[in-house]
Amino acid sequence: MSRVLEVENLRVSFPAEGGHRVHAVDGVSFTLDRGEMLALVGESGCGKSLTSLALLRLVPGPGRIDPGGAIRLGDIDVLHLEGEPLRRIRGKRIGMIFQDPMTSLNPVFTVGDQISEGVRAHLPVSKREARDRALHLLQEVGIPDPVARLDAYPHQLSGGMRQRVMIAIALSAEPEILVADEPTTALDVTVQAQILEVLDRLRASHGMAVLLITHDLGIVAGRADRVAVMYAGQIVEEAPTPALFARPSHPYTQGLFASVPRLHGPVERLKPIGGSVPPPSAWPSGCRFRPRCPKAFDKCGAMPPLLPLEPAHRMRCWLAETERS
């Protein structure tokens, strides 16, 4: 497998009271291979969306990416780019789709215009060729009657159709990597199933790597190749998907699994994690999950590194030292 992305020690900070900076993303590292899907899973405020924005250098001010990390696309470090070279990465090497397509689409241009614009921004083609390519892209993302839809405006489309248009725009320059930030969260379940199927198909046919940002363990199961669970700005557990679901090991991951209502098995009272996720300014020293952790012990006063349970299964918890298989 060829590596398309390598993120190393990514840190994103925001100014806080007293001249300090709080690190909303704090030392995140991961890799992505061609055709692979990595799911970044976590609850609101865990830093998963900021991580994805940082990949394209889209961190909103006054936040900033701190020095000392790297985002490598082949031999380019995205953190060292500015101006035109940076613009060429966005869309061309890394495409992105968001939860709410309506805020990313321009209401006064037709769907065809907006896809063609994406095509022409990155590929040397005529208007005519760009439009043909737009039509082809609409077919590829499964929009019925694509010829008519080219001339439609965003408000004339349903939520599911708009998200397909966003995917078509993201694909217009044939990026190697697609970052999908909660792509189906705003959609109904039957439409969600359609969109996920489109993503699976494109991954298979184009070898596109996908970074899926989600809060929903359900859409990760049976779809992502690997999962990284985030809590309080850090990856706390990472593993191939089957291994993570067979043996969720970090107490936070276990708490997440116990909180999810299920369709099968006996109906039992859910076992929520006590308390709530603290804001970055209130993260404790040592293990950040410690105040909510039912298994916390003395050693948790020191921050654990990602420790191996199995060669590809690691967790940020001292218990890995005793649970290692």
């Binding site: 609850e43 609101s44 019925p144 349903s158 939520g159 599911g160 159709m161 109904d188 379940v189 039957t190 439409v191 969600q192 199933a193 359609q194 199927e197 809060h215 929903d216 363990l217 359900g218 859409i219 990760v220 199961a221 049976g222 998907t241 089957p242 679901f245 067979a246 043996r247 969720p248 276990q254 708490g255 997440l256 699994f257 116990a258 909180s259 999810v260 209502p261 299920r262 369709l263 099968h264 098995g265 109906v267 009272r269 859910l270 076992k271 929520p272 994690i273 709530s276 996720v277």
Partner: protein, 340 residues
Amino acid sequence: MTLLQVRDLVKHYQSGGLFRPSGPPVRAVDGVSFELAPAETLALVGESGCGKSSVGRTILRLQEPTSGTAVFEGVDLFALDRPALRRTRRRMQIIFQDPYSSLNPRMTVGSAVAEGIEIHRLARGAEVGRRVTALLEEVGLDPGYAARYPHEFSGGQRQRIGIARALAVEPAFIVCDEPVSALDVSVQAQVLNLLADLQRDRGLSYLFIAHDLAVVRQLAHRIAVMYLGRIVEQGTADAVLRRPRHPYTVALLSAVPEPDPGRRRTRIVLTGDVPSPSAPPPGCPFHPRCWHPRRDERCSRERPLLRPVGGTSAACHYAEDTPLPEGVGEAGGTSTASIP
């Protein structure tokens, strides 16, 4: 015994507006009937635009119904004048998906919870404060928070405030309109448990409006599935989830993402979108998207009525023969993945 009886509820919205001539009305709710017993939860399930929220709001008369009846504790809700309606609302409350938008940002949590007690003159003087303290404790909030403002709280805490505010007037019935869909999973579990505890302790009835069948399963005694303004299937939660008869219910169930890669499941991916409620298809409203192998021209001509089939009632001409794909409903069997 019946607490609430809804018959042939219809809510149409006139479309069109300032710049457009009025077209056909949007038939948001198009003949919905159900009953609710004390201490019972009926879940109203469906996708966006199916009319489930309009049902809840019309019963409380937050929106006026187009036609139909709703009898609550023996009172015909749609015949009440304003003062009588206000008195009756003490017994019927609602909690929303986004509690923040329903809380006054300039009112402390304590006064927000006390408001209903004062309006309905349920207590006076120091007794109001004592009740507010007890309510905040009951929903799992520190009573010391009473002097704080809504923006100081997380989404889950705000939902608890919304629940305390609804409970303050001692209702018998609460419409829960997507109460946990905006919450993170760990917080969602806390609020679902709280709703279950309150029902047990206070004998509350819930009309639980939601789109997530796995969430619904935690609380519902009965489930009604809505599509394009009508109930297409209704029955006990167990029967609907185990052996659904309407092909739309089956598709919905098959699409629920489950955190269980060990489970083999056939997903039914419906084609197309939900048609516009202002121009519903003739015959069975689901027929243009239906995957039922027996679908035929009768479905595009004749509207199927809700009728008992197996353990549920379903509005499908061929409900007897609705197939159950692998991994859906009772064909699911037991889970193989280990859950800690």
